[in-house]
Every structure is written in C-alpha cells, then in structure tokens.
C-alpha cells in the first residue's frame, strides 16, 4: 500500500545537481520525465523489454523504468537532453538524421543513449557489435539497418575528430 514517506536524494542530471524528496517507489523514469520535465526519455513497455527509457547512470546504459529514483541517489545521470542541441549536435544525433535512423522517433533517445554507452566502450565497433549493443532497444519502425549506419557514421566521425585532437 502507499507509503508516502519521502526520501531525500541528490542526483546530478546532465551536469546539474538536483535535490528532491521522492516517494521510495517512484520509478526513475517518472522522476526524469515528470519531476525534472525531461520528456525525451520515453516509456514503451512495462516489462523492461523495449529500452525506450534508456539513460546513462554513471556512464552505463540502464533502463530507467526498472530502477527506483532512490537508487540514483548520489549518482550521475545523463539523458538525451544532455547529449547535444541544435547548434551542437552530437555525432550520434547527426548520424541518425543523416542516415535516416528514425521514423516515429519514439525509440530514438533510448537508442542514442545505448549507442553512446557502446561507443564509449568500443570506439570502433563492427556491425555485429552495434547490433548487439542496441539489442536492448526495440524499434518498430526502421528495421535497424539505418540505425546501424547511424552509429557507424558517429563512430567514424568521433574517431576522426579524436585523431585530429
């Protein structure tokens, strides 16, 4: 039954510290979407299958529908809103647009977050790596082929700028 006792938490989201008092059972995805109004993180299922809710928790891709907000206490979150913006798109965002890696766009933020985590670990992924890397994210529209190309585009662009640096 409802226990409305609130728990104080501190969490860094997209580089900014947030303090909040939350119900212990509040799902992280609802905290992100409704308390922080960061609605780019989506909800597509109730069984941890779809990955539309994927965010980075201390750099690791996690499904935010399957974590309580209190589990993020003292940790660092990154959501799609912290990835890039119109004047400075992240190579992955650019890749999705260039390679037609999205249609309805509902899976896209989660896909981008998973791909972020993948490229962090594997800057030069094979097609196989990419397919496995996004296998926790479902897309009903694209058939994945152009998502794979989008991630390849980003990987190339990121490694080119890394080697220039």
């Amino acid at each position: 039954m409802t226990t409305k006792r609130a728990v104080d938490i501190t969490v860094k989201v997209n580089g900014k510290e947030h303090f909040a008092a939350v119900e212990p059972r509040l799902l992280l995805v609802h905290f992100i979407r409704e308390h922080l109004a960061l609605t780019g993180t989506h909800i597509g299922c109730d069984t941890t299958n779809c990955g539309a809710c994927t965010v980075l928790l201390d750099g690791r891709a996690v499904k935010s529908c399957t974590l309580f907000t209190v589990q993020a206490d003292g940790r660092e979150l990154r959501t799609i809103e912290g990835v890039g913006n119109s004047s400075a798109l992240h190579p992955l965002q650019e890749g999705f647009k260039e390679k037609h890696g999205l249609q309805c766009g509902f899976c896209t933020p989660g896909m981008i977050m998973s791909a972020c985590a993948l490229l962090e670990k594997k800057p030069h992924p094979t097609e196989e790596d990419i397919r496995w890397g996004i296998s926790g994210n479902l897309c009903r529209c694209t058939g994945y082929q152009n998502i794979v190309k989008a991630v390849q585009y980003a990987a190339e662009k990121m490694s080119a700028s890394a080697s220039q640096a």
Binding site: T2, L38, Q103, R131, C141, G143
Partner: protein, 784 residues
C-alpha cells in the same frame, strides 16, 4: 518520369533529410505522455481477469476512500449518461465499461481517477468486483455449434455470426474447379497479431466549463474522424471539440479506432472538472486494443496440366473477438480481401467470408494493411507455391505463366477490382537477377544431397491502397477523400495543412517536396502541419498507405491552383498575357525572352502588395481530393533461408525486396518504410502470435511473450525498384508503407516450406518458431 528539380529545391525524387528529425533526435518530440496541463489528473483502467463472466457486484467504496482518489466510474455510471456503449468503426457497438457481463480477458470494467498515476493504480487494486464465470467460446470454428454460448446478448440475432459475405461467381468457379485437370488446396491460418507501435495509446482530455470547449489530445491516426465520433457519441457540438493528435510514436493501424479509455477520460474530465490523462501500459495495449488478422483461410486453385490458372475459390472464417471493431469501409465487412486473386489472371473466382464473435479482444484493424490485403496476399502467394509443388513446377515458372500481362491494364479482376497499372514480370525479373536465383537453386540442390536444409521463397504480391474513391469507400458514412490547404506567405515561404496524420512516415518532409515539385518553392521553406482539427482541413487520416495517394494528390492539386493564380499575377507584373508565359519550377518567364521572368517568391510578394485590380488578394488554395480509383502497388520479394537441423531455427540469409510504388517522392524515406515493414513481416512470420488458452487467457499479452525482433534477429535488407506510375494519380505515385508488411510473410513461409518440400511438407502456419520447425524435422526423421 517527372522532371527533376534542383537539389536545393528538393522536389520529388530527392532523398532529402527529414525536417521532423531535429526535434526527435534531441528528445524534443511532443508525444501524448509529454502533454502536461495545469491541474492534470490521471486515469487507470480496472480490467476483467475473465474471458466471459457475469458481473454480480462492483464495490468502489474502498477505492474511493484512498486519499487522492477523485472518482471511480463504472459501466452503470456511464449507462446513466447513455455512454456505456459506443459505436465501433464497423457498425457494431462496443462496451465502454462493462455492464452485466464481460466478454474478454482484460476488458474495461471501471475507471479510477486520482491526483497522480501511482494513486490511481493503487486505487484500481481496491475496486472489488464479483464475477460469475460463464462458458467460454475461444475456437471460432465452434461458434456456430448448437451448444456454443451466445456471446452478445445485447443483439437481436441470437447467433455468434456477425456476417456472411461473398463476392464473385460461385457457379462458374465451382464448375471450373470440377472440370480442372489439376487442383491444389491450402488451409492457411493467419494468426492474431498486433501492430504494437512503440508508443502505446493514450489521451489527455480537457473540458473548459466556461467556453464549453473540449480539447482532446489523442494518439489518433484519424483526428477528424475521432472528432466526429466524439460529437455523435457525446452529443457535443462539433465546433466545441478540438482533437489534437500530437507526435505519434508509431501507429500501424493500432491508433485508428476510438478506445474506451478515451471516452472514460472525457467523462472524467467533465465530471471532475480537471484535465485527465490516460496512458495505457504495453500489456493493456497488446491485450485490449485493435488486434489484426486472425483469419482462418482456405484457398483452392484450379489449373490445367501446364499450370495455367483457371479459377480460385476462397473460404474464410474471420475471428473478430467480442465486438466487431474492425476499421473497415462500410461496404466491405472483409475489407479488400477480395484482392485475393493477386497478380494473376483468373477467368473465375469466388470468395466467401464468415465473421464471428469469440471471447477475445475486439479488433480486426488494418495493421499496416489496406483492410485485409495482407491476409489476401499471403493466401494467394502461399497457394501458388502449393500448386507449383503439386505440378512439380518451379514457383517462378508458375508465376510467369499466370501474371496479368502489362498490356491488360487497366485490368478488371473477377472479384470486381480495376487494377490501375502493373508490370509484375519486370519486378520479378529484377528480384531474380538481384538475388542470383539460378545459382541459389544449384546451391540448394547440392545442399540437399548433403542433407542440409536451405529454401528460397518468392512472393509476387499485388497491393490495393489509397482508399477512396468516395463512391465506394467510407468509414461510418464519412467518405474517404482527403485534403490539403496551402498558404503561400508574402515572402514566398509557405504552410500546408493536411487531413492526414504522420506517425513516423515523414509527412513534414514528403508533402513539402510535393509543393517544391509543383511550385519550385524549396521544400525547406514549406511548413507542414497535421493533426489539429481546429486548423487542418477535414480528412480521414493516415492508414492503409493512403496518405500519398489521397492527401499527396490533394497537395499537388492545391499547389497547381496556386500556380494558376501565380500565372495571372506574373502576367500582370510582366505586362504580357498569360499565354505568353512559360513555367519552370520556381518561375514564370516570357516565351522567347528568357531574361524577363518573375520568381514564385516575387509573385507571392505581389499577391499581397501589387495584385491586379479586381483580383482577390492572397495566394492560397484548398483541395479536397476524391481519387477516381485505388492504386495498385506491387513487387516481388525473395527470401533465402537456412534451417538448423538440430534446433529448428531458421536463419534468413538474404532478402531482396523489389517494390514498384510508381513515382517516388523521397527514395530515402521509401527505403526506410520498406526496411521497417519487412521487419514487421519477419516478426509475424517467425515470432509473433496472440493466442488464447481454452479458458480465454491471453498468451502473448506482454513484450515478454509477444516478441519484437531486435537488431540481432533482423537480417540485412536489400531493396530495389521498378517504376510503373499510376495513370490516374496527379503525379503517378501509388503509396508504399504497407507493401513490405503485405508481401513479405508469404516470402518467408514459402522459403521455409521450400526448404522442407522434399520431405513432403506442403504448408506450415505462422509463426515459424524453432519449436514448431523442430517438431516437423523430428516427425520427418531429420533430427532426433
């Protein structure tokens, strides 16, 4: 082919990048659950655990006592306002909240409204309902048995039969069947499946008691139709209803019907006096909203010894669940299923369909499909392979022999359609060449020698899309035309509003390209708006691949009206007569004096600043397009599969899809549509099914057991095109979104059956799960 504009104009045929993407890649889309209003409260549905049961009591007191709960609405409450039932989109009615009894598991029984979603869900658990179980009817084949329970006590006819429908010449077909030297028969079940767009359905409904205006944000593929249904059901004046369809996270037909949750949210908004949000969970989506298919089909083909087709006879049992909530044109209880003669020239055909009620979720919606064309294409393409096997003919040969030849178009089919254009042989040839058919057959023969299982499956499907024309097609009496309203601003930029609604198809880009093609205004300068019934012209929405054939045509014709007015203004500005002007995309020039010209932007400015005396100012046009006929896209798909003998697992090694959808607006978007549709076809062929146990419990009601392929299971798709424009469409387009979903299931199944045909396998029903295949292999002694 159409004249190609410069890339910076971005007219038809340019693979320009999508305009809508910029917001989606930043997480700035505005989907239904992102709509947030001050004072908004949440609804949660209480659902039936039983498939068929009488409701003897509903106790809501405990739920209402929970702090934060604002209302609990039951069917009895709705009955007082005459809202316990609502019309379906196919001339049946459906319970909004159950009164008396429930008819399927997961049916809507009560609606709880609370300050936040967690409290609403808690309170839903506190609603106590007493049920008395009733005998359950799950197998549609038993629906007409004398001891079958009659499900719909509300209907006058005490029968589970919804309709019997037939088309074609029964006598001639029977005769041809009897006298034919060769016949082949297949019983093919197309399982119940679900569109499962990644975003579920939902709404936010706000009623302003001061103005009397109801604003409804709904995940709607057909916002205008929904507005009219709301007006008719709720008795509200239509001008006081505004339906806004925000960004939609995929639809595929799932978001065409009106669902009980929308009505409950509206009632709650009116009674509580605050905006109400209702978003279904994934499981609720799969278990209670518009399913598709569930067709038990039988096809018989008659042919001569050489394999020349004579006749087709089809008998189908359609399982509609508890209510007939198919979204189908009125005259077509089985939709366009009579396209089942496919790409082939038959002299006679007959098709009959019985629709029945069972204790299952209602639906029968057109899932990425023009009203049952998917079932039809699957059936004929499967039957062709069965006949080929019977005749020991290569399936390619059999198809070649029987295609409707290009010179026979427009072609009148024995079941009453007039196909606009086609070149089936051309698409087949290209697909064979791309896949390397002959080499694959050689490889297959060698593999068979070694005991390895490999199959090649072909599907040369014909589609039927783009409903209207209005004389034949309507939904609930609303004629199936569609619309565009184009306004060119003084600076030469434009906005166009449409009667359709994108759910990922990229309308903001493709419609702008049509304007670019017709007027030479860069696509980047044309804003497209859809989905707000207060601003958009009336239309029937986006499904059944109808946007390009209908609204796309309307866009072109509205643009041509603007061009005609622009011509008059240009003549005035250049001081010549209209006949002295010639048009090229973006400008009018004086014939023979190339330097003397006016750009469309200059003309637009003049339309507001310097128009001829007596002319109506402004530069805009509206067009409501009523298509003269449907369009008939087609294609050939070829799948190559390898089967693991140990596990029964099927691997799709290659897949070539050659589509012919006439002239193409944006090749990049078309290719994306094809990839997506093929992936949905793959899912249907190999992994998805919603089935029910004998007590009526749903199996396949969550993403744990209703499988969506991931990037790992999805093969690499190879695409190609031939181009046979539609002769009656303003720019020769046909529509493509559903083709891959319509054409591919048969290619997959044909490939798997082909791999096993030497073992005597003639047909296997989808989904072709490893377990099912492994059992067959075991049966045939191929594996232990």
């Amino acid at each position: 082919m159409l004249a190609k504009t410069l890339p910076e104009i971005g007219g038809m045929g340019h693979p320009i990048k999508r305009k809508e993407d910029l917001r989606f890649i930043q997480g700035k889309g505005n989907y239904i659950d992102d709509v947030q209003l001050p004072g908004m409260i949440y609804g949660h549905m209480v659902r039936s655990p039983y498939a068929h049961a009488r409701i003897t009591a509903i106790r809501t007191e405990e739920a209402k006592k929970l702090p934060g709960v604002l209302a609990v609405i039951t069917g009895e409450d709705l009955a007082k306002a005459n809202l316990a039932w609502m019309p379906t989109l196919f001339h049946d009615k459906q319970m909004v909240l159950a009164t008396g009894k429930v008819l399927f598991q997961s049916q809507e029984v009560a609606f709880v409204v609370a300050e936040d979603r967690y409290t609403a869900a808690d309170a839903a658990d506190l609603v106590e309902i007493d049920y008395e179980e009733l005998p359950v009817l799950i197998d549609p084949h038993k629906s007409q048995d004398s001891d079958a329970p009659i499900l719909r006590e509300d209907r006058e006819e005490k029968s589970n039969l919804i309709f019997h429908w037939e088309v074609g010449d029964r006598a001639a077909t029977d005769q041809a069947m009897k006298s034919a030297p060769v016949t082949a028969k297949v019983n093919a079940f197309f399982p119940r499946c679900h569109p499962a767009p990644l975003e579920t359905c939902g709404c936010v409904i706000d009623f302003n008691s001061a103005t009397g205006k109801l604003t409804a944000w709904i995940t709607s593929q057909a916002p205008h139709a929904h507005r009219t249904v709301f007006a008719l059901v709720a008795g509200l004046p239509e001008q006081n209803i505004r339906v806004i369809s925000p960004d939609i996270g995929g639809g595929f037909g799932n978001k065409v019907p009106v669902y009980p949750g929308y009505v409950c949210a509206a009632v709650a908004a009116l009674t509580v006096g605050r905006p109400v949000k209702w978003i279904e969970t994934r499981s609720e989506n799969l278990q209670s909203t518009g399913f598709a298919r569930d067709y038990h089909m039988e096809a018989e083909l008659a042919a001569d010894k050489e394999g020349r087709l004579k006749a087709l006879r089809v008998k189908t049992l359609a399982d509609h669940g508890a209510f007939n909530a198919a979204a189908q044109p009125t005259k077509f209880p089985a939709g366009l299923f009579s396209i089942c003669t496919g790409s082939y020239d038959f002299s006679s055909a007959f098709c009959e369909v019985d629709g029945v009620y069972t204790n299952k979720a209602p639906g029968g919606i057109a899932y990425r499909c023009s009203f049952r064309v998917t079932e039809a294409a699957y059936l004929i393409e499967r039957a062709m392979d069965v006949l080929a096997q019977e005749l020991k003919l290569d399936p390619v040969e059999l198809r070649r022999k029987n295609f409707i030849p290009p010179e026979k178009f427009p072609y009148s089919s024995p079941l009453g359609w007039s196909y606009d254009s086609g070149n089936y042989q051309g698409a087949l040839d290209l697909a064979l060449e791309r896949i390397g058919y002959n080499d694959l057959r050689k490889e297959q023969a060698e593999k068979r020698e070694r005991g390895e299982l490999m199959g090649i499956g072909i599907s040369s499907f014909t589609e039927i899309v783009g409903a209207g024309p209005s004389h034949t097609f309507d939904i609930l009496g609303l004629k199936m035309f569609d619309s565009a309203e184009l306004r060119v601003h003084p600076t030469g930029k434009a906005i166009m509003r449409m009667g359709t609604k994108s759910q990922g198809q990229g309308h903001e880009t493709t419609y702008a390209q049509i304007v670019a093609q017709e007027l030479g205004i860069p696509a980047a300068d044309v804003a497209i708006e859809e989905g707000d019934t207060d601003t958009a012209p009336y239309g029937l929405g986006t499904y059944a691949s109808r946007s390009t054939p209908t609204s796309g045509a309307a866009a072109a014709l509205a643009a041509r009206k603007v061009r005609e007015k622009a011509r008059k203004i240009a003549a005035h500005l250049l001081e010549v007569s209209e006949e002295d002007l010639e048009w090229e995309p973006g400008k009018f020039s004086v014939k023979g004096a190339p330097g003397k010209s006016k750009t469309i932007q200059e003309i637009a400015f003049a339309a507001y600043t310097n128009f001829p005396q007596g002319m109506e100012p402004g530069l805009e046009a509206v067009h409501y397009y009523d298509p003269p006929n449907l369009t008939f896209p087609f294609g050939t798909y070829i799948a190559v599969v390898d089967i693991d003998k140990g596990t029964g697992e099927v691997k799709v090694r290659r897949f070539v899809a050659v589509d012919d959808c006439g002239n193409i607006i944006n090749p990049m978007i078309v290719e994306g549509q094809v990839h997506g549709g093929l992936t949905e076809g793959l899912a249907i062929a190999f992994m998805q099914e919603i089935s029910y146990d004998e007590s009526g419990n749903i199996q396949g009601g969550t993403f744990m057991d209703y499988l969506v392929p991931t990037a790992v299971e999805t093969p690499h798709w190879e695409t190609g095109h031939t181009c046979t424009p539609s002769p009656h469409h303003p720019f020769g387009a046909k529509g493509v979104g559903e083709s891959p979903n319509v054409g591919s299931p048969a290619a997959f199944v044909n490939a798997v059956v082909d791999a096993l045909s030497h073992l005597g396998v003639k047909h296997i029903d989808m989904p072709l799960s490893p377990w099912k295949i492994w059992q067959i292999l075991k049966d045939k002694g191929v594996t232990q």
